[in-house]
Amino acid sequence: MDATVWLPVLVLGLPFASFVLLAVVAPLRRAGRAAGAVSIAAIAAAFLGAVLVWSVGFTREATWTWIPADDGPTATVGVLVDPLANAMLVLVTLVSLLVQIYSLAYLHDERPPSLGRYYTFQSLFAFSMLGLVLSPSFIQMFVFWELVGLCSYLLIGYWYARPTAARAAVKAFWITKLGDLGFVIGIVMLWAATDTFEFRVLFALAQEHALAIEGLGTIMFLIYLGAVGKSAQFPLHVWLPDAMEGPTPVSALIHAATMVTAGVFMVTRAQPLFALVPDVLALIGWVGAFTALLAATMACVESDIKRVLAYSTVSQLGYMMAAAGAGAPDAGFLHLLTHGLFKALLFLGAGAVIHAVGTNDIFRMGGLFRAMPQTGVVFIVGTLALAGFPPLAGFFSKEAILAGVWEADMTGPFLMLALTVLLTAFYMFRVVFLTFFGRAPAAGHPHDPSWTMRAPLWVLAALTVLVGLRLALGDVGAHHGPGWLAPLSVAAALGGIALAWATYQRGVVDPGGLAATFPFSVVDLLARRRYGLDTLYAGLYRGFLLSFSRLIGWIDRYLVDGVLNFLSAWTLRGGDLLRHIQSGHAQDYVYGVAFGVLLLFVWSQWWPR
């Protein structure tokens, strides 16, 4: 095996080795910080390897048999190294590394065994995410897809003693699992039609126009459902805001930068297949744009800083999906990468703030810029990037998406996305103004965190700027839209910022009054109720699933089993009744014998022969 294979395998294997080590060697895991050191060392080495793979630009595919069968394997595993995977490798290892370093300080109050558990899960997550990225086949992607879902479940429920965390963890698992049902049905159908899970073979078939399967549209739609669940698209986005119950670094890593983008990655990866079914693509685009807008409105009314960021993530994932749906997956993928950087930055920054003030509620913060200037600076950098300000990274990727959607003649989604630009700037600066400026509440002495937390922030902020500059100088974004696009989006962003400034900094506009005027009042009302979706799911779960299961349970016990018990009870009763025939008097038995003899006589005399 040459370097093109073993190096990616090594990148994949290091976190796995770390996971196995921590999972099996209990004393090491219970040591807490030592476990963290092992995990960080592994992921750091993996990061170096990933950078090497990326800089050299390996392209290679290698597969091994996983599930054997008589005529060729049913399923294979392997690694697929190409530019797409390389970029993701770097992003995943980088953010993982930074988050793991950050967590050392963020979670320093935890008991050592808990911390060890945390790092065990972190290693498992890094391994799973890398495996997903390197998947050469749908089946391997699904395997790691589920594994990252597992890590998400475990890490959301990291503080498992909290009822809300426990609820959020299972909710996240169930809702994403719902989407995964579509995924698994889709790949099963695809396999039945083509006899393979491998991208290479499928793409080759697609290229030769040999993939004329009946119901390909349905298949691709089902596969897309997996992405809907994982990447929190409408209507399965409800789990992501709740997932903020996990520790903030987890939110930064899993629920912002990496795992939730798996859906986008998958759609991008399978683009040659999706390209065959334009209807599904259009649907992806519309749903993506709608998700972006919907989530942005909910972010505007949210008061929990992490949940604002969560809705923002949903919204940005909508952008990426819209790009993929518009046939501009490159733009979507670029946004995935840049978003991974600055959203991780924002989450880690928010974590620093929460760590300092001890609350999530933005209305109970204020004036923090003076107390923690470094955090403030990097947070504002991230906010600007998210709002799409040149020359930061987010501007170019978002620009590319808008251009791609415009060029695909999808006017409706374009308008929704453009409106979302304004809303994005508004809700993010609402957070900035409320948190870092304005009047400080009296209590507490917040201060900038220790260097282990600051360093990842600065690294991410620097990368946000650098990548932006690199994009500005280079000619990376392939989609240059019409000339009015850039000014429009910058203007929209500025408008949003101005609105936020006027409302929350200057107090010129009364937020309550604004929300009460007609078109906004309806949206405000709906957004505060999360468009009723949470209620709907809860209702379905309680009112339908649990009730139905109770009905089935009742039927099982009292009808299916009841008939049986009814019969056996009657058998017992019948036996009780017949028992009295056994009087114990020998003469009564002689009657029986005599009757038997009589019967024999009757039978022998009159039985027709």
């Binding site: 996983w66 395997v143 909290r162 299972v170 169930w174 698994v184 039945a192 349970g553 009292y558 299916v560």
Partner: protein
């Protein structure tokens, strides 16, 4: 002369039972050591068997034959193919773990272990016997000790009957261990009657000269015979495999049984049923199988969804696990009903995976029950903090149960799905997939309720698993993950058995 390894595996536990009864009276430690040693012999034998099994050859290997009643064509005939190989391994693993999991049985432990080991001999015997008469004898040996094991060492649940048949429930004593033992035994004997009739029907129709599976395999029976005998085998073995609506013995029986018995029963004995359908039903009656596959598959789908929903409705932990077995056995039967290579491999893999998984579950439930003295899910909470090891193992079992990749459950379900969509009844795929979601709902709900959340005030002084119990948990979890990550370990030998089987069925 070669070592009769199959006989060794089969009879070693029986020898252990005899030793325990005659030499280890009132010496609990000796009882356990003998049990460990003799099941250990079986385990080593099974591993050796697994290692040296020729994966390139089809047909039965390690063949042994000793004529018993030559005029009737009855002989002691043993052999394994890929399917039984895997199930022998499963049995060895489960009983070995089961011996450790029931280390704390204090009442009449020598009788308990003796019966348990005798039972295991029956199970091994069923998997390796190639003579239908001997097969049936082993089958009964595997079923009957269960009555005593549940009736004497079982535990009674709390069921307050309501509804239209409530009087009938009081009359029959629903919820008590005696009721459960009686119900289980009667159900299984009901099934045995069908099996016996089926076996004799085949014997007579083949000329009444041999009970040997190998001989009968060469006979092609008339279509009507095939149809009815297959139906008899399906119902007879199906009772043991928990097919709807003949499954209700399983929740009551498993809930009342002591830990090792639940492990063995749900883990292995239910597989006897599925194995019987595949080996005798599909192996001897190919056209009957083709004709009735629709019935098998449809009922399997009912099993999957119905079992999962019933499990969701339960409030007693053991009942949840027991109903999950009903649901998972649906996957086994569905895989077999697809009559495809992948489906059948999935079915056999699920027999193995579910065996280990449910064995693990019942071991854990036993531990939780032993420490918390309650099976009511609603009363428990926050156990994760005090018994992290048990919580971890339970989570692993749950994940395998809901078919999470990298556990054995996933491979089985995936293969079954693939087979289902390739079968003649594509719609089977949808209930099967829906079943995995429902499983995720009830299994995680239970895990959340018991292990997560704030610690319950009722249970302050609980402990994690201890020495011998760890052996059981670690062994089972390891097997579960190992076979999930490297499915080829199981698929390669199984394939050697499923292909000839399918060749007979589809080529018919």
């Amino acid at each position: 002369m070669t070592v009769p390894v199959l006989s060794l595996i089969t009879w070693s536990p029986f020898a252990g039972a005899l030793l325990i009864m005659f030499t280890a009276r009132y010496r609990p430690l000796a009882v356990r050591l003998i049990a460990v040693a003799t099941t250990g012999v079986s385990m080593v034998g099974a591993l050796w068997l697994y290692a040296v099994y020729d994966r390139d050859a089809a047909g039965f290997q390690f063949y042994e034959k000793v004529p018993l009643v030559p005029p009737l064509g009855i002989s002691y005939e043993l052999g394994v193919d890929g399917i039984s190989l895997l199930l022998v391994l499963l049995t060895a693993v489960i009983i070995f773990a089961g011996v450790f999991a029931s280390w704390t049985v204090t009442v009449r432990s020598q009788e308990f272990y003796a019966l348990l080991l005798a039972l295991v001999t029956g199970v091994f015997g069923v998997f390796v016997a190639l003579d239908l008469f001997v097969f049936f004898l082993f089958y009964e040996l595997a079923v009957l000790p269960m009555y005593l094991l549940i009736g004497v060492w079982g535990s009674s649940g709390e069921i307050r009957p309501r509804g239209i048949f409530a009087w009938a429930y009081r009359e029959t004593g629903v919820g008590t261990k005696e009721y459960a033992a009686m119900k289980l035994t009667l159900y299984l004997l009901f099934g045995s009657a069908f099996i016996l009739v089926g076996i004799f029907a085949l014997y007579v129709n083949a000329g009444a000269s041999s009970f040997s599976f190998v001989d009968l395999e060469g006979v092609s029976f008339a279509p009507a015979v095939q149809r009815w005998v297959f139906l008899a085998f399906y119902v007879g073995f199906g009772v043991l495999a928990g097919i709807w609506p003949l499954h209700t013995w399983s929740p009551d029986g498993h809930a009342s049984a002591p830990t090792a018995v639940s492990m063995l029963h749900a883990g292995v004995l239910m597989k006897l049923g599925a194995y019987g359908v595949v080996r005798l039903g599909m192996g001897l009656l190919p056209s009957g199988a083709v004709e009735l596959a629709w019935l098998m598959g449809t009922i399997a789908c009912v099993n999957i969804v119905y079992g999962a929903l019933s499990a969701m409705a339960q409030t007693d932990l053991k009942y949840v696990i027991a109903y999950s077995s009903v649901s998972h056995m649906g996957i086994v039967m569905l895989g077999a009903a697809t009559l495809t290579e992948t489906g059948l491999n999935g079915s056999v893999f699920q027999m193995f995976a579910h065996g280990v998984m449910t064995g693990l579950f019942f071991a854990l439930v036993g531990l939780v029950y032993e420490k918390a003295h309650s099976r009511e899910i609603g009363k428990m909470g926050g156990f994760g903090a005090v018994m992290p090891g048990i919580a971890t193992a339970f989570t692993m079992g749950s994940l395998s149960s809901l078919g999470l990749p990298a556990t054995a459950g996933f491979i089985a379900e995936l293969l079954t799905f693939l087979g289902a969509w390739r079968s003649d009844h594509r719609w089977w795929l949808f209930p099967a997939v829906a079943g995995t979601f429902l499983t995720a709902v009830y299994v995680l709900r239970v895990a959340k309720q018991i292990f997560w959340g704030p610690p319950s005030p009722h249970f302050q002084h609980l402990e994690d698993a201890r020495g011998p119990e760890w052996v059981a948990l670690v062994l089972l979890v390891t097997v579960l993950v190992l076979f999930g990550m490297v499915p080829g370990l199981a698929i390669a030998p199984v394939d050697t058995a499923t292909l000839p089987l399918l060749a007979r069925i589809v080529g018919f």
